[in-house]
């Protein structure tokens, strides 16, 4: 996948033209950030509870918010793709974007471990109960990964022009 082929896709599909209208880019930015906020307000709250905040709330009840987080992730990924397709060279060679993707990868692997290795432990921490230590570790990794996704996303503009910062581009 080259920057040119991605850019050609963006032009052919009309994504580039839409994103470069007066309100295209900022509107998609708003959608992208609201979706990330929903992630923080659902998965982030679940993680904080697992780490010991508000133990009067059972994790099983709070888990009801997690599907919203999954939907929000899909929305943020789709809106993020619109940025990427519209200016691929600004992202592909950008170290902050690469670190953002790395954090997303860690968060994804972490979710997979949580649901495959501890499927029944999700509901174990009821009202006033502490989450098991492995679940706490997974929650801490999850919270740090999503904070990383947002922080490195904000840093993307710091590394422009990205070619200057790309140490693996040759």
């Amino acid at each position: 996948m080259s920057a040119d082929s991605v850019a050609a896709f963006g032009h052919a599909t009309g994504i580039y033209a839409f994103m470069n209208t007066a309100f295209g880019w900022p509107t998609v930015e708003v959608i992208h950030f609201v979706a990330l906020s929903v992630l923080l307000g659902s998965v982030g709250l679940f993680d904080l509870r697992a780490l010991g905040l508000a133990r009067t709330v059972s994790m099983r009840a709070l888990h009801g918010l997690v599907p919203f987080g999954v939907g929000a992730f899909v929305l943020s990924a789709l809106s993020g793709l619109l940025f990427f397709v519209s200016a691929p060279d600004q992202y592909m060679f950008n170290p902050a974007f690469r670190l953002k993707l790395a954090c997303m990868g860690i968060a994804g692997a972490n979710v997979a471990v949580f649901y495959t290795a501890f499927p029944r432990r999700v509901g174990e921490a009821g009202t006033d109960e502490d989450a098991p230590l492995p679940v706490k570790v997974i929650a801490a990794i999850s919270l740090l990964s999503w904070v990383g996704v947002i922080a490195f996303g904000r840093l993307i503009t710091m590394f422009r022009p990205p070619y200057h910062w790309c140490f693996v581009c040759g």
Binding site: W25, P26, E29, V30, F33, V34, L36, S37, V38, L39, L40, G41, S42, G44, L45, L48, R49, L53, A54, T56, V57, S58, R60, A61, L62, G64, L65, F68, T127, V147, I150, A151, R154, L155, M158
Partner: protein, 159 residues
């Protein structure tokens, strides 16, 4: 305008802009705290509309103090960002719209916390979900206004 120019040229504002880390640290803090605020406002709204209803209101109220800390950090980081580029923000009418919406949304959040989540009531009053929806809508609009500020400013004294 003279006061804005004075602030923009002050040693502190110049340091904020020219430091290799200060401005981006503030941007990250402001982004994370605004994300937490919008996320918590939507979660409160979802709870008052009946989602996760097995969580009692006082128990849910234990989660919302994060909102207070996030509001404080967002306000301080926002003020410092304005101090870095005062002309850019203070000459844009959208900035004042953002400020009005954020203040209204914060007042709504404080009311919900005081009159619903910490009021020791068994069920939420009928007005609470509507007020929470208004609050969440205002926070999203505040966030949108913040994003659009970067595209609508007319004046930038320093490049």
């Amino acid at each position: 305008m003279d006061q804005i120019a004075w602030l923009e040229q002050s040693a502190f504002a110049t340091w904020l802009r020219e430091s290799s880390w200060a401005l981006f640290a503030l941007l990250i803090l402001h982004t994370l705290t605004m994300g937490a605020i919008v996320g918590l406002a939507l979660a409160s709204c979802a709870r008052l509309f009946g989602l996760a209803s097995t969580v009692s209101l006082p128990a849910f109220g234990r989660l919302t103090p994060i909102l207070g800390w996030a509001l404080l950090a967002a306000a301080v980081s926002g003020l410092l960002l304005v101090a870095a580029y005062p002309a850019k923000a203070l000459t844009n009418p959208l900035f004042y719209v953002k400020l009005a919406m954020a203040t209204s949304a914060a007042a709504i959040a404080w009311n919900l916390q005081r009159r619903v989540f910490t009021a020791d009531v068994a069920s939420a009053p009928s007005w609470a979900p509507k007020l929470a929806a208004l609050g969440a809508g205002l926070w999203i609009a505040t966030l949108a206004a913040g994003k659009f500020l970067a595209y609508t400013h007319k004046m930038l004294l320093v490049g």
